[in-house]
Amino acid sequence: MPAAVKKRRNALLLILFVLALFPLFGSAYYNELLAKIMIMAIFAMSLDLLVGFTGLVSFGHAAFFGVAAYAVVLVSPKYDPGNLLVVLPAAIFSAAAVAFVVGLFVLRTKGIYFIMVTLAFAQMIYFVFHDSPLGGGSDGVFLNVKPELRIGETLLLDLGSPSQFYYLVLLFLVVAYVFLRVLLRSPLGHALAGIKSNEHRMLSLGFPVFLYKLAGFVAAGGLAGLAGFLSACQFGFVTPEILSWHQSGNVLLMVILGGMGTLNGAAIGAFAFVVLQEVFSSVTKHWQFLMGGMIVLVVMLLPGGLSSLPRRLRGLLIGGGTHG
């Protein structure tokens, strides 16, 4: 195993270890915050599959996140806990199904146009929930009781319990990460990389590029659905705003902030984004100015994202010529 891969693996194991131990030390609030960050990390990684690995810059990814969140509430009984084994697949499936349908439309376009069309479609789905009685309209809808996993009479898992929820999120984060890593080294993953690098050539080599992109789009949508499921379970409240274009912009920002095409970067970006939001909003009422300024600075000065920062700093300290 090459040293770099080994180093990365060790770093990941260390992070996993910290995340696993954190609830033993953290307070209820910070546990919740960290769980939220992990959910966002899953969400950002799912988008990275499109943006970073397939070259599809989707500006409507929040739609799938939101559809799954709504599915959680709509599938769950009103005053009883939903069955995890029903609710979770339903959420992921509905997100993937919507991604499939949207994909049929948007994947016929390319480049800059793709960005706009994904935005427009996400906005359309936003209005479906915003303007129809389906999910409580613009006021949103509550999940009264969180899902649970029960076999026979024994309660195995209750998502209403913060600690059980935390570890479930951690588990899903690991599952999502491993799933994406495996996917990326599979023939499909390689084909997606080829599409990112040179779509035209993939076509002339005989790849049904559209179907491959659709497969990637659906996979990313489903994974965003997993994040949406977790988000709905965490706060028990779903409103159209979770699939607004701001949300799509934020998750895109997380991917860029961390550095796209690296998976780890997406997770780092999610962490940095949420923490920055916390810090800025505690400093001033006009915190969105700071957030905006930060975005502008990152775009202008840090094209590779935060994960390129150590490399850049090293380059700066050691200088261009000498080898570190």
């Binding site: 390689h190 690098s197 050539r201 076509l203 080599l205 790849f207 049904p208 179907l211």
Partner: protein, 253 residues
Amino acid sequence: MAELVLTAKGLSRRFGGLFANKDVSLDLHRGVLHAVLGPNGAGKSTLINLLSGDLPPTNGQILYRDQDISGWSPDKRSRAGIGRSYQRTNIFPAFTAFENCRLAAQSRAPRALRILSKAQGYADLAEAADRALEQAGLAERRDMVASTLSHGEQRQLEIAMVLATRPSVLLLDEPLAGMGSEESQAMVALLQKLSPDHAILLVEHDMDAVFAVADVITVMVAGQVLESGPPEQIRASIAVQEAYLGGGESDNE
């Protein structure tokens, strides 16, 4: 006569009011290397694009083994066995030469649903890729990143990728463009080697090369076929000399 593989019947392609191709017909047979000559703007690249599916024809028909494929998409044609190379190098620059070819080979055995398996784990793809690199004379460059290869080597890689898809028809768009003489010779040798097993359409500027390898030559001027026949006939043709060989010198690079 050798097996007829691909036929173009009365192909036309119009851009606005201009005909890039007008009523072009030709046949490609297995084991026959068919070259297309013509000055810049004669419509040679358009012809390849029409045959490969990159452009839909305005009029006309394309038959592949007696099947009408005029409406097929480029990827479907490719999977059916029509491989093409590009005039401008069109590769995956960040991948190694081997990965370029392995990906090309993968298009024949997509296994897209096996997302749990490792792409590198398939021996058949690796074999096909290595064979293609070997054929194209790039075996030594196997693990170099494509963008770091020399121009000539990238042209070879371009061909190797097509070969890795095991096509029966090869549509080659100026494979010699920008090559040094040594590289050109290697490429000509490669073409000769490939000729017996494939139906090849070669668009090329390099006269010497064309007359050296072609079995049939079609000369195009202003989007139309001027003359078609064996090299001797073309060399002897007065029409060709007047229209092309005479006036064409000046705009040859």
